[in-house]
C-alpha cells in the first residue's frame, strides 16, 4: 500500500485516526494516520448491530416475563453467562438460574450488590430495564 492509497473514509473512529503502515515514493514504510476504511465500517456495523439486535430480543423476553432484568443488563454489557459469572465470581449455573424472573425476584441484597458491581450499575438500576420498573 502506498501512502496516497491509505483510505480516509468516514468511519467508526469518531474523528480519531488509526495508524496504518504504507510506503512513500521511495518505497520506504511510514506510519500514516487514517480516518478509517469503509471495509472496517461495514464489518464493525455488522458486529455492533448483531449485538443491538440480540439486546432487543432479550428486552422483549424480559418484558414478556420470560427473563429477568439481569439478562438485559448482561447483554447490554456485551457479556454472556460465562463472562458475567467470571466477573461476579459466581458459578455459571447460579447465574443461569438468576436469569429466571422468579428466582431473580427473591435475590438477596448481597447477590444484587455483587451483580451491580460486576456490571457497573447501581443496585436500584439492576432491577430496572428501559421503559419499565419493577
Amino acid at each position: 500500500m502506498k501512502i496516497n492509497e491509505v483510505p480516509q473514509d468516514e468511519s467508526i473512529l469518531e474523528g480519531l485516526r488509526r495508524a496504518c503502515y504504507a510506503q512513500d515514493d521511495r518505497g520506504e514504510y511510514k506510519v500514516v494516520a487514517s480516518r478509517g476504511w469503509e471495509v472496517e465500517r461495514i464489518v464493525n456495523t455488522q458486529a455492533t448491530s448483531a449485538l443491538a439486535r440480540a439486546l432487543k430480543e432479550v428486552l422483549k423476553e424480559v418484558r414478556a416475563g420470560r427473563l429477568s432484568p439481569l439478562a438485559y443488563h448482561m447483554a447490554s454489557r456485551q457479556m454472556d453467562v460465562p463472562l458475567l459469572a467470571a466477573n461476579a465470581k459466581l458459578c455459571r449455573w447460579r447465574v443461569r438460574r438468576h436469569l429466571k424472573p422468579a428466582v431473580f425476584a427473591r435475590l438477596s441484597d448481597a447477590l444484587k450488590a455483587r451483580y451491580a458491581h460486576a456490571l457497573a450499575l447501581s443496585v436500584a438500576d439492576l432491577s430496572r430495564t428501559p421503559g419499565h420498573t419493577s
Partner: protein
Amino acid sequence: MSDDAQKRPFPHRHSGHCESGAIGALLRDRCLDLSEPLWFGIGGGLFFLHTRLIKVGGLALTTYRVAPLAIVRNATRRLGISMRYERFRDPEVAGERLETLLAQGMSVGLQTCVYWLPYFPAAMRFQFNAHNLVAFAKDESGFWLSDPVFEDVVCCPPEALQRARFARGAFAPRGLLYYPEKIPAALDVASAIRAGIRSTCRHMLAIPVLPVGVRGIRVLARGIGRWPTRFGEAQARAEIGQVVRMQEEIGTGGAGFRFLFAAFLQEAASHLGTPVLSELSAEMTAIGDRWREFALIGAHICKGSRADLDAYQELAEILWQLARREEVLFRALKDAVPA
C-alpha cells in the same frame, strides 16, 4: 493518594498495534529507541490461526497475531532486557502500586479490557481483555496514558482504569503491570532480529497438525467456500465479518499485520546487511495488498452487495493463492536468515 506525580512530557508515538507500541514506548521512555516494526518482528508477532474449536461471540476464532503478551515477552528476552511483571489479587493494592511507581517517575505497561476504557469510540468498545497501554503520570484529572493506537496521550479516570485492569474472563489481566528492570548497555539487535525471523518462520511453516500458519490459511480457504451452504447466508456473513474485523478493525497496521511485517523486513535488511530481505519485504507488501482485496470482497458480502456464491469462491481462491505465496516467502526467509 499521591499528588506529586504531575503530568510530564512523554515520548508517545502513534502505533499500528498495541503490544509492539506499548513495549516500544516503555523503552523509548528509558532512552532505548527502536521502531515499532522492529519490536513487532523481534517479538515474532506475525501469525495466523483459524479454528472453529474456539469461539468468540459465537463465531470461529481467527487471529493474525501471536498470543497476548508474547510480543512483549519474546522481544525483551531476545534483546536481553529483563522485565518485571506484577499481577494482583486486590484492585486497591494494584492501584496503590501503580501510583507508587508513577510517583517515582516510572512509566508502566498495563494490560486492560477495551470495553471499560471511556476514551475509546463507542463502536470499538468490545469485551477484549488484552489491550496494552502505558501509564506515565497521575494528577487530579486522572491517569495519563500513552495508548499506542491513539494519536495523542489520553487521560483516564481512576475508577475506569481500575475496572479495565480487573475485568475477568478470557485473558483476564488480573491487574497486570510490567516494566523493564535492567537494560543491557550493549544491545545485539541483529541477532535478536534473526531470532524473531526464525520464530516467525517456524510459526508459519513448521507447527505440525494445528490449523496455524500457512496451513491455517488453507483451512480457512477450504472452509470459506462452503460456509453459505453449511451455515446459511446470515451466519456465513457474520463469520466473514469476523475474519475481516480481526484483519482490519482491531489494531493491525493494515492487512492483518502484513504491512507491519513488511516494514520490519525492510529495516531488518539494513540491520543485517542482507539485501534479499528488501525483496521479501516487497513481496510481503504485495501479499498484504492481496489481503486488503480479500477484506474488500468480504465486506461486500457482509453488506449484501455481493450475495452470489461466486463471491465466496473468489475469497477461497484468494486465500489459496495467499497461502501459496506466504509459504514460498517464509521458506525463502528461513533460507536468508540461517541459524
